[in-house]
């Protein structure tokens, strides 16, 4: 082959490799960008007056005096809307013709308006909190206002056979009625009706969710994830480290040991959902560590899942300890146990810690093993003394729940993204710690 051709082929191969790296990095950016961009929206956002009112009513936060003044201002701005709604409702009752046209639609419209600016005092549509307060976030308020001001109308089917919907102003439908001015008023005075302000809401991490995550934070889920992770570590670390010590310091090359190694690598390869089923069949249904799902059962299952990772990390760290350390200790007359406890383990500790931290990240993010053993989608934060009996929320399972099984997934996107961001930041922070720790070990070993 011509030399030039070979050079071109050489460059192409390099190009393909770099293309692959670029695609991989792009995948990471594409994955994380929306999570960080939208997730921060759960903590920093333009909160409306309704948000401040809710925080004051429920959590007793904010300046009472300021809120009272604001309430008065809002009452004045909102009164025209309520008046128009009442007037129209009254007309509907007395006018059959009007009732035929709007009787079915009006209650829905009224509900939408109340969802935007909150019901007038003493007139909530139901006992649900989402019916007692208006839109707490400005981004939601804009969507809500749009659904009031505009209406989708069916225009038959399009060329693909899908139903064609056209957006039009709702005011046109109400032309000539007493309600017509309301739409213009809402559109014009939206900011005065809700008074959005930039809000920093760090309590999102510790507040209890209220009314199916429409309000409040993700406190119980964060707490549950912490319990489960710590529980798994508590169970897996002693077992894992001792197993590693045995494998490194005592075990030879016998058949039993190679069987043991095969078992450990098999354990590592077991799909996580199988761990979940095993936890259900063994920990809960057979040895009854708890009457039903509990933090304890979940921790045990997760502990089993991360056991192989911890064994391997510890084994590698123990093997990395220079032989000279051991020889020096033995030559000074220390027994094998003493050598292990006072020389080898301390020297291997940073490496073992790295493994532990990485497996903490894994345990915090796992979902499948805790579905049948620990996780529930509702409930308050678990008290430390209840961990042996009561199930808990957990970030990973709640992410799945609020983004698939919630009744209004579109309306609580900020909660979903907030949860995902919290979990991602937690896991990445753990991994970053591990990376820094590893860098330190490398420096110490080389320096």
């Amino acid at each position: 082959m011509h030399l030039r051709t070979r050079k071109i082929i050489d460059r192409s191969a390099t190009g393909i490799g770099i293309l692959a790296i670029v695609v991989m990095t792009a995948a990471l950016v594409v994955l994380l960008a929306p999570i960080f961009a939208n997730g921060t929206g759960a903590f920093v956002f333009r909160g409306t007056a309704e948000f401040r009112k809710y925080q004051s009513d429920r959590f007793d936060r904010g300046d009472r005096e300021v809120l009272t003044t604001e309430k008065e201002t809002l009452r004045q701005v909102r009164q025209p809307v309520y008046d128009l709604l009442h007037k129209f409702e009254h007309q509907l009752k007395n006018d059959d013709d009007l009732d035929a046209r709007f009787g079915a639609e009006f209650p829905k419209l009224k509900r939408e308006v109340y969802r935007l600016i909150g019901p007038p005092p003493g007139e909530a549509l139901s006992r649900l909190e989402r019916d007692e307060y208006g839109a707490t976030r400005w981004d939601r308020a804009l969507v809500q206002a749009d659904s009031i001001v505009h209406v989708q109308e069916d225009r038959g089917l399009d060329s693909h056979g899908f139903s064609l919907k056209v957006e039009g102003p709702r005011a046109a439908r109400y032309k000539g009625t007493s309600l017509e001015p309301m739409f213009g008023y809402v559109e014009m005075h939206l900011a005065e009706l809700l008074r959005p302000q930039w809000t920093f809401y760090p309590q999102f991490l510790i507040d209890n969710p209220q009314d199916a995550n429409f309000f409040g934070g993700i406190g119980p889920a964060v707490l549950g994830t912490i319990y489960l992770t710590l529980g798994a570590i508590l169970f897996a670390v002693p077992m894992g480290v001792i197993t590693a010590i045995y494998l490194v310091e005592y075990a030879g090359q016998g058949r039993f040991i190679s069987l043991l190694r095969t078992c450990i690598s098999t354990l590592a390869g077991v799909p996580s959902i199988v761990f979940g089923l095993f936890g259900l069949a063994f920990f809960i249904n057979t040895i009854h560590v708890s009457p039903s799902k509990s933090v304890l059962a979940g921790s045990l299952t997760l502990g089993l899942l991360i056991l192989p990772t911890i064994i391997r990390a510890s084994e590698e760290a123990l093997r990395a300890v220079p032989l000279a350390y051991k020889e020096a200790a033995l030559s000074l007359g220390a027994g094998q146990w003493r050598t292990i406890l006072t020389v080898i383990l301390p020297a291997a500790l940073p490496g073992i810690l790295t493994g532990i931290i990485i497996s903490m990240g894994r345990a915090a993010g796992e979902t499948a093993p805790i579905i049948f053993t620990a996780a529930v989608s509702v409930g308050l934060g678990v008290k430390p003394w209840e961990v042996f009996t009561s199930p808990t929320q957990a970030l990973s399972w709640n992410i799945y729940n609020v983004s698939t099984e919630h009744e209004a997934v579109d309306q609580i996107r900020h909660v979903q993204y907030g949860m995902v961001l919290t979990l991602v930041v937690l896991v990445l922070a753990l991994n970053l710690t591990a990376v820094l720790l590893r860098a330190r070990i490398t420096r110490r070993l080389s320096g």
Binding site: M1, H2, T5, R6, K7, I8, I9, S12, A13, T14, G17, I18, L19, A20, V23, M24, A27, L28, P34, M239, I242, T243, Y246, Y250, L260, T262, I264, S265, L267, A268, G269, V270, I273, V274, L277, A281, F282, N285, P308, T309, R312, G335, Q336, W337, R338, L341, I358, G365, E366, T367, F372, Y400, S403, R413, Q416, L423, V424, V427, L428, V435
Partner: protein, 417 residues
Amino acid sequence: MTAFGQTSGKISIRRQGGSLVLGQRADRLRHAVALLGRLILLAIASSSALAVLFIFYFIIRDAIPFFHDNGLREFFTSTHWYPSNAAAPEFGALAIFYGTGMVTVGAIVVAVPLGVAAAVCLSDVLPFSVRQWVKPTVEILAAIPSVVYGFFALVVFAPLLQDKGGQALSVATWLLFGPLAALAILVVADVSCGRLRERFRNPARAAVMILLTLAALAGLWKLSAALAAIHISSGTNALNASIILGVMALPTIVSVSEDALTAAGRELREGSYALGATRAETILSVIIPAASSGIMAAVILGIMRAIGETMVVLMASGNAAQIPQPWYNFLSPVRTMTATIVSDMGEADQTTGSSRYHVLFAMALCLLVVSFLANLASEWVVRRTVAKISAVRGTGGGDAASRPQGFMRRVWSWIGG
């Protein structure tokens, strides 16, 4: 335990009048205690092996009643999956097996070319300083929890596919195949004109290039137009799950293959360069064949990761227990074994003991067997690599012998991770 060592020392010193030699009894005692401690360690160490046996035992125990009551035939050959039908439940899991296979194949098609190319690039092409920035990317991809991938698939990727599926596919085609086509054109033009005389070579090459470029543009245009016309009715489908699973399996494949490629060693590379091979020739005809078993292990581990993954397929695959029409239609929703276990257990939980409950354990047993076999296969492949590398190097020399061992440990540490 250390405390005991001290006491025994003191006793012996008193007896022997200052001598450091242990008495017979103290010696025996010390041995006994050391043995006891060793046994305790062994007991704890073997409990992880016990855990594996327990997992097999308890999954099999709860799976047997299903096979006992319903036999094997329906489960493996029928596609009718109606476990909740109280009067006449049907447990045909064929479509679910097919769905698992489909998304796994899709994930491998995405992950293997990309992962191996990236691994080659990491081990042989990139300078050290760049590599240090790329490696954390792989680690972060591996660390992100699966439910986060699932959330992305459901909330970001699925709407994109559903609303702008055709356009997205055609843009992706251009971005991926555009550069590849350009490289291919350069190479083909050069190869085809290499034999011509010096005078004609350049014009001929230009002509071939223009022709090929036009052909490639036309082909890509046609392909992307065909793709753009596709209307995806549901964003949660096999394609979505495959792509996301592929990205999830990438870190495993990249890391394990890169370790295998690095373990092929400097000597092979230098030998090849000394014979006048270019880098690409070295990689393609020396390094990759030498590391082929390691890459094979990487692929097996990637497959395992894709088969065992739960949350992504649960959220992204659409969960319809059917064999797509036609069989290769990646745009239709499918259902996998792991997702079935999660979504059906919620209902079967209250009916512990019924076939509906046990069938899920039967499914878990299938998963367990597959992952066990894959694990054995990857271990066997790695062991063969080590033997091969040792044979190439000769077994003598501490350095040469320790390297493959280190490689094996690293691969081992990736199994399942």
